[in-house]
């Protein structure tokens, strides 16, 4: 089984909401000081999905990360978890892309790798939350796709995928090669072991520039965008909470109930 996983470095989505800042003049997020970026959590679970398949039936896992200023200790986490190889699409021209230019570059990199049975992505990246890149890669490469997976079983050249829906899940069978996007219902991604970290530290990522994947710089990153960002801003939260007190927690509880009744909320 040859498995490719796309994994993105993002600003830690679970950093305290109060630390989140936007610079309105540049329409950009100001990375919170002292908070290290992370691999987008759904992408980590995509790596986990790949590792579970390899654990069961062997194979090779290649991880691709696209971006600029990729911190080696961050993007190497999939290697620390046990992935075999890491390819970085790292070049200024890949920066500031949208779903379209990102999916295009990743698809061209996957094409260059050539041999694969499954491509995994996270269901959406924790920064722009679009959830389009997986479907885009599948469309560009002409692969069948299943999105928002929580369980993947491989038998006889096919994948049986449990796809999360609003009110449960459906079991979908798909022929391989296929693209599958992974959701958190898959379960927690494994933590790297000390042995895994030691092995991962020794591996050097392969770096590909646009020319290496046969594309022009004008087709990727900001130049390849199909959407324009007009404005990035923070929603205003009104922030007026009345704290209900009491001599004891029980009394506070009673006071809260009375308050809600008085305000005709209950």
């Amino acid at each position: 089984m040859n498995i490719i996983v796309c994994a993105k470095q993002v600003i830690d989505p679970e950093a305290p909401p109060a630390s989140f800042k936007v610079d309105p003049s540049s329409n950009k997020v100001v990375p919170p000081p002292g908070v290290s970026p992370v691999i987008s959590p759904f992408d980590e679970q995509a790596v986990e999905a790949a590792l579970r398949i390899r654990d069961a039936q062997g194979g090779k896992i290649t991880v691709i990360s696209l971006g600029v200023n990729l911190l080696r200790d961050v993007v190497k986490k999939p290697l620390y978890m046990g992935a075999d190889e890491l390819i970085l699409l790292e070049d200024e021209s890949f920066a500031e892309g949208d779903s379209w230019s990102t999916a295009y570059a990743l698809a061209m990199a996957i094409k260059k790798i050539g041999e694969y049975d499954i491509v995994f992505c996270g269901r959406q990246a924790a920064d722009w939350d679009a959830g389009q890149v997986g479907s885009g890669i599948a469309e560009i490469l002409g692969l069948p796709g299943v999105t928002v997976a929580k369980k993947i079983d491989i038998t006889d050249g096919k994948a049986r995928v449990e796809r999360v829906t609003a009110d449960g899940y459906e079991v979908v069978e798909v022929s391989l090669p296929a693209l599958i996007t992974v959701s958190n219902e898959l379960g927690e991604a494994r933590s790297p072991t000390l042995k895994g970290i030691m092995a991962g530290k020794k591996k050097e990522p392969v770096i590909w520039k646009p020319a290496d994947i046969g594309v022009e710089a004008s087709q990727v990153g900001a130049a390849g965008r199909r959407t324009g960002l007009l404005k990035l801003f923070q929603p205003v939260r009104e922030g007026k909470c009345e704290i209900i007190e009491g001599a004891s927690p029980e009394e506070a509880a009673v006071n809260l109930a009375l308050k809600l009744r008085e305000a005709k909320i209950i």
Binding site: A18, D129, G134, R160, L230, R237, I243, I244, P249, L260
Partner: protein, 332 residues
């Protein structure tokens, strides 16, 4: 070359009826079509959908395209994208809107790439730029920490819209419109997936997304037993129980109870958040609630930034007394 014109709504069908999201989108689409001075059309795709077009017209559509085929019984990416590609190429809408649902999340991006255009996912506001006539697509990004407004010069402009972000029109059965059947013409061998089984994960009682009162629990509830107390309060208030992600991940409650960015969107009259911190990804799914009550032992918890009423205490000491008092007040 024909021009892209008009607004098209992809209308989901649920248990033989137009889904709530479909009427919400038709309400929004009507406004956009009027702003452009153009037509609003609806698309219905499935098996046994004949007759539902009238409902779409009553809810604002001028024209309905129906694609009815036994092969379209279950949503499958290959069949639905192929059919929608055909519909869009025939109708040439300038704007295509879908719901941010299990179907829309999968269909919209793949269709956008197929049609060589772009999509904006999970929009909460759509408007027409008065000068360029382009669609201004405002969506939540960074887990709800920020909002972003996008445009695209590609046609058609595709957007998915979040549940409950738009208001439906009052249905008017006297509205007139045309219903056009389009043949699916699917090649079964080109459908590369097969739906083997659908497994519902019922949450007992009132549906979370329809409930007027939601009692939500977070990681601080600690275990499945703790959620029984929330259920009791929800029962007294005739509401539903929801959760943040950790209780779902820990299997204290079914996944279908998750509220937030990747869960359900709820806008009840009363939302009571118990032992949850108020992460942006959660708040984005409940901040439209009319009244928000928070019970959390940490006075710095982010939930207090959006709550209207709060108690800073251990929930275990607060909830039983609160439930008792509410029972007494409601006489039940």
């Amino acid at each position: 070359m024909a021009e892209y014109k008009g607004v098209m709504i992809y209308c989901e069908v649920n248990e033989g009826k137009l889904a709530a999201i479909a009427t919400e989108l038709l309400g929004c689409g009507r406004k956009l079509a009027d702003a452009l001075g153009q037509e609003l059309c609806a698309v219905l795709v499935g098996s046994n959908i004949t007759g539902l077009g009238k409902g779409a017209i009553a809810s604002g559509a001028d024209k309905v395209y129906e694609v009815n085929d036994p092969l379209l019984k279950d949503y499958q990416t290959d069949s639905y994208v192929t059919v929608m590609e055909k519909v869009v190429k025939q109708a040439m809408p300038q704007i295509l809107i879908l719901g941010q649902t299990s179907i829309g999340r999968d269909l919209a991006p793949r269709l956008a790439f197929r049609l060589d255009t772009a999509a904006a996912m999970d929009c909460i506001a759509l408007a027409i730029d008065p000068d360029s006539k382009q669609l201004l697509q405002t969506r939540s990004v960074y887990g709800g920490n920020a909002l972003a407004t996008f445009t695209s010069a590609c046609s058609p402009q595709i957007a998915t819209v979040r549940a409950k972000a738009m208001s439906p029109l009052k249905p008017d059965a006297s509205r007139q419109g045309e219903v056009i059947a389009i043949k699916a013409d699917l090649d079964p061998s080109a459908i590369r997936t097969k739906v083997l089984e659908k497994v519902p994960e019922e949450v007992a009682g009132i549906k979370l997304e329809d409930a007027e009162v939601v009692v939500a629990g977070g990681r601080g509830i600690g275990n499945a037993d703790g959620f029984k107390q929330l259920q009791e309060l929800a029962r007294v208030l005739k509401g539903a129980v929801g959760a943040t992600r950790p209780p779902c991940d820990n299997e204290w409650v079914p996944d279908a109870a998750q509220i937030g960015l990747t869960g359900k969107i709820v806008t009840p009259d009363l939302y009571i958040g118990v032992a949850l911190s108020g992460a942006s990804q959660h708040l984005t799914g409940c901040s439209g609630s009319k009244s928000i009550v928070a019970i959390n032992k940490d006075p710095e918890a982010n939930i207090f930034k959006v709550a209207h009423f709060g108690i800073v205490e251990d929930w275990k000491k607060v909830l039983p007394a609160f439930t008792e008092k509410v029972k007494e007040l409601l006489g039940g």
